[in-house]
Amino acid sequence: MITEDPYPTRALPEDTPVLRRCRLGIALDSERFSAALVDGEGTVLASTEQASLVAAATEVLPVALRHIMAQAGPRGITLDHIDRVLLAVSEVDGLAGLPGSNPNWRRWPGQLGPVAVIRLGRATTALPPLAGWPPDLHAALSVAETCVGGGARMDGSDFEPLDAAGLVAFAREIAGKVSAVAVSSVFAPVMPSHELAAAGLLRAELGDSVPIVLSHEVGGMGLLERENATVLQAALLRRAWGAAHRLRRSLVDAGLPEAEPFLARNDGSVMTVDYALTRSLLMHGATWAAGARGAALLAGESEALVAFTTADGTPTAVCAVTCGTATPSEGPTTIAGVPTGLRTVAMVPTDPPVGGAPGPDVERLAEAVDRAKSGPKDLPLLVIGPGAEKLVDALPGALPGTTLVCCPPRADSAAAVGVAVAPVSGEATRIFTLSSPHGDEIRVKVREQARAAAVHAGADPHLAEVTSVDESMVAYVGTPTVRVRVRAEGPPRSAWRPSYQRT
């Protein structure tokens, strides 16, 4: 006998217009949050920006929803209209516990790891996995490391045959001792097949309850940095699971059981929670990327500079926006004393003078504006965040290097608007010689891979399309060789389910 379902499936009448399918964006900063409700046409129906004592998404959600519905309710919006909830965080839960970020990290290792590390590529051991890691972090996170045959060459062909027997033997050694496994492979970003095959073999030995993180999911060229990020990611997985569970639960509790949750990435796009489980590091700094996107959208400028403010009107940093998206940083990002291949938003701090008076220092702001630019052209400076209006009011007039300084509408909630309208993205890359007769086939294939990657991350399969193609020469190679990088994007899929009746 079926007892009463505590979470009954709700369904809107089938003739509900698409415009009424709303996305709720919430952006968390350390001590504040912003929220915005955007309809199917991209119109912002409601927004709010508040101080919040607790930076946890689960605590913020009901408060945000109350403020948003107070504005949207009179416009005929009900909770049933919200089919997607998109969240941006400024810091990944768990990272604060890693050494280098917090001197009291010894409280944390029980919640991080333990992981096993596998590298596919035996002839790479001059620098074994975790080479150069701080010894205490190494000891706290990893119980075993190995290198077995596998990996790809630059052109995607096999580097070594995959050593299935070696993988199985290692899996039997670590079974029952690890909470996750990190697998990296030579040239995995151009050819992940060995990582995928290894995951299958490991799963057969370890069972489905031991998650396996693959380096091509984390991404970035440079085996060591990508491997480092993969290991950190594997160590964070248990925490990510817990966080994802609490997030889903809080959606149900808030009256949004049907809404699909998405999490913001630091490249300005979003991903489903399932996808984010093994990629939570990509969320680090996502609030900045969301803020930049929101500012550009609200101001109607796709090429601009964005200044972030604190509540008292002090600028904290400036970033550049190209094609509506924040410019990413160059070079490795160091986390917990370990270089990783993660890219974040290229933020230029405005460096307020130590002990100086609060408020804008025009010279420093102008310097940051110039450093953030990627070209000599003057650009509009969009000021966002809780102190946006205060800062614009306090500026004495024109700022060098800018065409205008403005506070876009709903500037305080720009990050929430940015995450609410963010697309889902996917990338793919390949390297091939220009003389290859298969060049055009490879180009077509990479485009399709990028599109598939976007769909995998939660893009609407009908609307995901290629948005950029970049080809660059590989240096110091005898035969002219090119690397092609393709990015695809699409709107986040809707969790709208067809109505069905329980019998």
Binding site: A126, A475, Y476, V477
Partner: protein
């Protein structure tokens, strides 16, 4: 004799990046390799050319390939050994000393790691005094010393021995092997006697790179001008200081060619680069060319900036550092002057 140990590596890497003139590959992986090797085997013995016994057999060892591959396909650690042993089999005698083929970029670190692993002493010198992209672009070529016998070793244990009719051919064949082996191989070539080492190498460059790296570090720590610290040590001239206002990169004909425009109070400097910075023009007047070293450093920190990293908005100082004088002979310029890289200008000595 002195010892090169772990604390010396960062200075050496920074100095080598500077002397790489914007190219030569990132010393980052090389530094990690050297650190791992020294951690395992202890510090490296560095000797001066005066300390070479008359019967010394000096062998330059280096990595050949693409940095894109180098950061992804890490070495197995056995490649240099394999190349060296293969060369010794051909020569019928053992190498007594290792040396760097170039002091700029990643290849400054390869022989450090190899010396730690093999226990052979490292000669304080190199064959270019900077970085160049091809095997024949070394000073011993000017003295008629053959690049071959040259051995090439990959990570799987394959080795090849090249006997070529010229050093240009050695480069072409080695490059073809490198491509087939996956664009990341190690070579041992340009074998030198003690006398040849003394006469054809640029001496003391390992120490010089280390001192340049230390000078930048110390200047920064002492809030002094790191750029001044470099020019005080290495001589040369500041060609321009200012802001990068444009960087363009073209990939015609399989060569990555680029130009960067640096706008400063003294005018606008246009830098032409391929893998390295090769020609600098101030108001259409050539002010510096290869084989002199054209080095770009961050004006504030003194950190070297590679051609790949150069971007709009960087505050940089462009330095012209004098090359080894043998490079400016007619034979030297034929090998590594501007026309050798496809530029139609002649060599122009640095402004004094």
């Amino acid at each position: 004799m002195r010892e090169l140990d772990l604390p010396d590596l960062d200075d050496l890497a920074r100095g080598a990046a500077l002397l790489g003139s914007g190219g030569g590959g990132d010393p980052y992986i090389g530094t990690l390799l050297a650190r791992a090797a020294i951690t395992r085997h202890g510090p490296v013995r560095v000797v001066t050319v005066e300390e070479l016994p008359p019967d010394a057999l000096v062998v330059p060892v280096s990595m050949l390939g693409a940095p894109t591959v180098g950061v992804e396909k890490l070495p197995s650690g056995k490649e240099v050994h394999a190349a060296l042993r293969a060369l010794e089999r051909v020569l019928g005698r053992a190498a007594t000393h290792l040396v760097a083929i170039e002091i700029g970029g990643g290849n400054s670190m390869v022989p450090v790691a190899a010396a730690a692993e093999t226990g052979l002493p490292l000669l304080d010198a190199d064959a270019m005094g900077r970085a160049f992209p091809e095997a024949q672009m070394v000073l011993p070529t000017l003295s008629g010393i053959s690049t071959t016998p040259m051995t090439v070793a990959d990570d799987k244990g394959n080795t090849a021995v090249i006997d070529a009719v010229s050093n240009h051919w050695a480069e072409r064949i080695a490059r073809a092997i490198c491509g087939e082996a996956g664009c990341s191989v190690y070579t041992a070539d340009t074998v030198l006697t003690a006398a040849q080492a003394r006469d054809t190498l640029v001496l003391g460059t390992l120490t010089l790179a280390q001192r340049a790296g230390a000078a930048i570090r110390l200047a920064r720590a002492g809030h002094a001008d790191p750029v001044r610290a470099v020019t005080d040590l290495l001589g040369g001239a500041v060609l321009a200081a200012g802001k990068v206002v444009d960087v363009s990169r073209a990939t015609t004909g399989g060569f990555a060619r680029g130009e960067a425009v640096v706008h400063g109070p003294d005018g606008t400097l246009v830098l032409s680069f391929q893998n390295e910075h090769l020609v600098a023009r101030l108001a259409d007047r050539v002010v510096a060319t290869t084989p002199d070293l054209i080095c770009v450093v961050d004006t504030e920190t003194g950190e070297p900036v590679t051609t790949e990293a150069l971007r709009y908005g960087f505050r940089v100082t462009v330095l012209g550092l004098p090359c080894d004088p043998r490079w400016t002979s007619p034979e030297g310029l034929a090998l590594v002057g501007p026309p050798a890289f496809g530029y139609d200008c002649g060599y122009r000595p640095l402004p004094s």
